[in-house]
Each structure stands twice: as structure tokens, then as C-alpha cells.
Amino acid sequence: MADAKGRIELTVNGKRYDLGIGTGIHDVAPSHTLAHTLRETLGLTGTKIGCDQGACGACTVLMDGVPVLSCMTLTLACRGRYITTIEGLRDPDSGDLHPLQAAFVDKTAFQCGFCTPGILLSSKALLEAVPDPSEKDVAQALSGHHCRCISHYQVVEAVLEAAKHRKG
């Protein structure tokens, strides 16, 4: 904190954080990515880093509801933003799983599960924008997500199932 040059405020999963800018362990350094801040500074390790090159989509979180690659986003660019990570997907009041999470559980729409948090967040953004997506819409919305186990077929099925449930 000795060399703090200011502060940054952002909201993560509904909780407001006011962080120092600097090189202390609780600070945000100008070089820190959002992925780093979430995982290392805030302890939200549900966000995964697969490539750290903006190619695999594993680190996807929502910024003001829009999917972004948190490994390619500097935390200092998130001033005043609302971030949603996988830890914030459950219903904050009841603690119930989001319909997408429930559908992923029911359909076993994952294998190793490393890409799952990112895929769930992109899917959430899709369902907010397109409540009744086609199979093609889902595939397009998830086109930036690498999954090497090949959970794609079951993921698409689960997202469509969740959409149906939400309409319900």
C-alpha cells in the first residue's frame, strides 16, 4: 500500500470492492488482468485460465452482462463495472442453482469441467439476450470456447433445456 497511486472500485457478484492501486498483495497493479484480480486478489478461483492468450474462452466472465475474456482485460479498465463470475450465478437470495447450472448437472454437460464456468457465463448472456435460442444460436454464442473433452453436444442440449425451463 506504500506506493498506492489511487483506488479502483468495481462490483463483483453484487459485492462492491474498493481496491488500492499499487504493488501490495491486496492491491491491483496496472499490469493485472481481471482474471488475475479475481483469482489472486479476491480469491474467486472459479474463473479458469486455460491459455492466458485470449484464445480458449475458459476465463470468460460477464462485464455489465456482456461476456469478456478476463485474461485479456486489465482490471484498471473495469472501474465502476459490474462483473459476474461463476460464483455469482446461483440465485443470490435463495442460493438455488441457475437453470443453466441445473441443466448442466442433469445432462452431465461437461467432462473435465475446466471450460464449464466460462461456457455457463456465455450461455447466461445468450439467454438474457435471446430467451428462446436455436441450436445454431447456442453454437454461435459458444464459438469462442475451447473444449477438448468434447462436451459440445451435451452443452448445447443443456442450454436449450435451460431455455425451455426458464420459459417454463
Binding site: 472459479g46 479458469k48 492466458d52 460464483e87 448442466f104 452431465t108 473435465c112 469441467g113 473433452c149
Partner: protein, 757 residues
Amino acid sequence: MAPFFRHIGKSTPREDALEIVTGEATFIDDLRLPGLLHGKVLRSSHAHAVLQDVDIQRAQALEGVHAVLTHRDVPAWKAGTPPHARVLDSKVRFVGDAVALVAAETEEIAEEALDLIHVEYEPLEAVLDVEDALKPDAPQLYDAFPGNEIPPGFPAYGPDCLSHLRMGDTARGFSDADVVCEGTYGYDGPFNPLPIEPPGVIAHWETPGRLVVWSATQSASWHRFVLLPAMGFPDIRSIATHCGGSFGSKNYAPLPCFYAAALARVTKRPVRVSYSKAEQLGAFVMRPGSRLQGKIGLKKDGTVTAFSGEWLVDTGAFSDMAQAQIGVGLGEAQLLLRCENWDLRSRLVCTNHTAAGVVRGFGGQELESALMPLIMDALIQADLDPVSFFKKNFVKPGQGYFWREGKWWVSRGADFTPVLDRGAEAFGWAQKWKGWLTPTEVCGTRRRGVGVMVHGNADVGEDVSEAYVRLNPDGTAVVHVCVSESGMGQRSSLSKMAAEVLQLPLDRVRMAPPDTLVNPFEFGLVGSRGTYTVGSAVIRAAEDAREKLLQAAATRLDAEPDTLTTEDGKVFPKNRTEKKLSWSRILGITGTVTGMGRFEHDFTLANFLALFVEVEVDTETGKVDVARVLAATDVGQIIDPARLHGQLYGCFGSAGLDTAIFEESILDREKGYMLNPNMVDYKWRTFPEMPPMENLILETPMASHRFKAVGVGEISTSPGPGAVLMAVSNALGTRMQAYPITPDRVLRAAQKSRKSR
């Protein structure tokens, strides 16, 4: 009539499903240990060089740096088969080979320290091609391996480990043949299995003689039982975290483990070594390169009369399991091709590029993909339908083969003929197959073609598994088996098997964590062995526990044990269901009962997978699209449909089917640099590019264990490359003979095909 099961055969949520979808699952980079330091590796910029000087003074002086190690000050541990890969050496053997190690407070400091290390290299000539490496004047990688050949044999497979497949009389076999074809074909990319999570290890010495290793691994026990002799027998406790995909590559990771352990030893702190994506792509493990100089003899009726040749296996700069992969590959060739006369010799060769390692398909995919162009040649000349050919030649019950350890085994498995018949029917093979090198359909510049390849593996019963099942008085059970979770869902399937034996609800059976300290020996999830081998140990342990429980109950209920049964944590006479005793009444609230189960290898059962593929090739752009895939298999009994489908869909992942089209690591063949060590340039299939895929799954009870099942995950990638090669050849009307079939290869072939028409 199909047997009635309470859990088996139903899709049920994975035991870790909630953790996965909420982000609570702990992967290796999510572990937070007090005092953890970060290890980084300085990597060579030369493909082959002697290190003249490694100056670490400036790096050591950097604040936050706790240790800098070079080849002069690392322990004398060695990995590889036979042991040859040092922690760090005075010589580097590929671009990306390790030169020095740093441990620091943060990753950033460790990376900064790497930049401060000054290395003087004396460059040596590099050899990058497997045939060049065998030339008499080739640069030599290891003093211990003259001629760059690594001795055959894998110690764990015994003295007769299969490296040269010999039987019958090939000269006579070839003279009996109607068609003889020969040629040299490769499947040598190199290809990267590329799990999404890079490899990572944390090592911590609790005492100078006691090491704890946490790792993202597919087989938790390997970091103990393989590294014990390599590291001079410290006591090693290996704990697996959730593993973000492995496909063999993270089965275990001896070198990253050495790096972390060496740094942890000098710093007396836990040290994490996590690879970056570039390191994973360029300095971890690839599929072994495979080049086959082969000759095949065939009768007009499809009988294979002889096979001879030399199989060159390129292991890159380091060999660990390649001799085992060769043994299994040679075994699998016999499952694919019934033939009385074999003379197929393997040679394991080292070259100056990234090392080969374990990858799904384990030797068989590499050999059979290189074999495909040769089989295709012979079938074209004999004018034989490939489906009929594979049906005729895949191993049948009662037929034998030499397996990896050199012994002769006779199959008591299923006849897979119905799988091919039903698969061909569901795919519409009869309508789509128009004869060799004939497209199914032509529409302007777009040409469709079909292909098929089969693969089988008799490793489903390999090696040793041990399990304990403990029954608690509260009507719950704990399964102690050292199985980690890297995507197959096998922990959940094993717990399901125990629940079925014990007739407990699924949520009353818990799996002990994958930790060698709390579990008996378990070889790990390789070779599709989870279902049959590990399953057998768990089932036996559950049965043993149940038997002990019923014996204890017998005295209380004044009945013979075999007249009793248990369900939902209660014991009762089979004919008097109202007279129920809870387990706590039998065991007391302070007692438990533990059953033990063990299984040792059985190579008499094989699994089987046929992949039917339709492709569309654009002769204007050269692009190959996979239009449709059908996988056909017989697994005996489905344990969990969703997990099984996941394994079969896996044909597109982990350097599988797409190595036939666009996946490859591109090496600069002069300097040995990898030109695409990132996920933008190493191509992978995206969501909108997934073609329609169907899985046809038969359930013919197999002679495995009480649930009659065998696993299939290992082989889902294996038939893909060959099937695509055949399909593209048929679409274009010309034989394709090299992988991957990139647009430039298609355009050249299309041009050639036009000329010849």
C-alpha cells in the same frame, strides 16, 4: 432380457457435478498453500546445444527470488525408459528444453529472474526427422543411445515386451497372396493432445525424506510408484486435484514434478510449477511420431496372408512410455488384422524436438493411422469393401494374439460383427459407398466421400487395481480407490457400482479423495481400464464388505448369511422383509466393516469401436468438412449413458479425428522451432463446426465382472484419422497418403486427379 439395476445403466448426476457448475471444484492452480513459491523454467532457444555457461548471479540477486538452479546443482534424479532424462543437463536437446529453474515469491518475479539468466550455448547440429536420425553420420542426442536408437522393452511389461512381432512365415504368406502392396507412410504431425488446463505440479518436502506432490493428473499413483525409484526412494505422497483434461498427457509428469521437487528441496517451501500454454504446446508431450515401411499380402477374399515391415517411432528428445506404446500398438495391429504371418519390427528413435508422451490411443492410433494408406492400397487392388474386410479380420472369440508383454492370449470377448453390421446400416453405408476412389456425390466443386476405420484394445483389463469399501453404521459406505477425476466421470461410475452391490442410494456412497496415503494401490485411468479393472476391484471390495456384514448379522438374526440381504443400510431375511436390522444394530455405533478387492491383469477381453465418416471436400478451396460421424461400439453394459456418450464424442478431441484434417504442430524443419505454439495457430474445432454425430451402442454382456461391462474411452480418437483419410480419398477419387489433409494437399491431389481423368 436385460437385467434390472437400481443405478447401473441410468444417467445420474456426477458426484462432483455441483462443484463443477459452481466453480468450487479445485484444480491445481486453485490450491492455496501457505508459503507457496512459484517455479519457472528457463527454456532453450536451440534445438541441440551444449551449455557453455549459465550465469545466474543477477537472477539470484533479484528481490523475491528464493532459488535458481542449473544442471550443476540439481539432484541426480532421472526419468525415462531406460532412465536418461536428468532434471537439468549440460546439454539441451530441443527448442524449449529446460536450462535453469527459478523459484520466487510470485510468478512475475520468477519470470523476471529468467530474463536475468545469461546462457552461452555451443550450438550442435540438430536432427529433426526420424529417418535422418538413423543415418550413420547423424548428430547424436545421448551417449547412452548410439545411433539415436533407444533400446526396446518396457521393464514393467517383463523381459518379453513386444517390440518385434514375429510369427509364421512371411515369405510363404506373400507367395500365397493375390495382392501385395508396400510403401512408407507416416502419422507424425507432431500432434498435441492439448487439454485445456496446462500441466501443473506442487511439491513440498514435509521432512527431508518425505515428499508430498499435488498434481493435475489422470492417475494419481504414478507420481508415487514411478517416481520412487527415480528419486532414490523418498516417501512420496501423491494427491490429485481435479484435472482439467489429460488424454494421457497428464497421466503423470515426471519432469515438472522434478522441477518442483528440486526447487522445494532447496527453498524448504512448497513450490508450484505450472506450465504456460506455450510450454504445454512446445515443451510438454506430443503424440509419438509414427512412420511405417510396410508390406501387406492379401487374398481376393480379404484374407491377410502376410505383413512385414519396420515401424519407426519418433519419441523426440526424451522417451518415457514409448516402448509400452509400441508393445500395445503391435498388439492392437493383430486385433485389427487377422494374419498368420507377421514380421513387424519396431525401432524407437530420438530426435531434436519436443518429447513424445502418453496420448489417448496409446501406440495403436499412431500405428494404425500410418497403416491405413497401405490397407487402402491393398483393398483398392483387391477391390474389397472395407466394412467386409474389417468384419472378416477383426479378432473373434477363440482367436489369439500376442499382447504387450509378449504372451499369447486367446480372446474370450464378444464378436463385434453385429456392431459393424448395425453401424453400417445406421450410417447408410450400402447407399453411400460407391466403390473405391468414387465419390458418394458430386455437386459442382463439392465432392462427398465416405470412410470407415475400426480399432480395438485388449488393455481394458490391464494391470493392478486394489480397493477397500468401508461400511459405516449410519448406513453409508466409503470407497477407497485411488482414482482421480480428469473428465471421464469414473469416480462417479465406480461409486455407482459400489452402490449397486450394496443397494444403497447413490448419495450414501462416498469416494475417498485421490491420495496415495489413504488408498491402496491403483494403476490409474488408462487404457479404458476403469470400467473392467478398477470396477472389478471396487465390486469385489463391496461384495467382501457385504459378505462380512451379513455374516455379522447372521448371528443376530439367527439365520444363515446367504438367506440375508441388505438394502438402504438395513439387513433382513430375503423372505421376511419386515424384519429389518439397521447396520448400526449389527456394527454398533462405534464399529465399521471393511471389504477388500483386488484385480490383476486379464488381456483376454478387448473393446471395439468403428467410426463411419462422411466428408465434403471443396476442390476449389481445398477445405475438408466432416459432414457426419457415426460411432458404433459394444460395451457389454452401459454404466452411465451420458458419461459414455461423452467418451465417444471425444473422437474430435485430444489429437483425434482432426489430425487428419487441420490439427498439427508445425516445426521449422531447419531450426526445430515450433511455429504455432499458441491456440490461435494450433487449430481446434469450435462449437459451430461440430458435425452431426451419432453413437450406436450395443450391450452384449461381456465376461468381465458382475455388470458385464468394458470401457471404451481410450480408443474413441483412434479410428478417426484413418476413416477420414479413406473418406477424402473416395471424395477426391485419388489416394490420400499423408496427414493432415490440409487445403494445399487437397488442391494438389485434385489437380492430379483431374489430369488422370
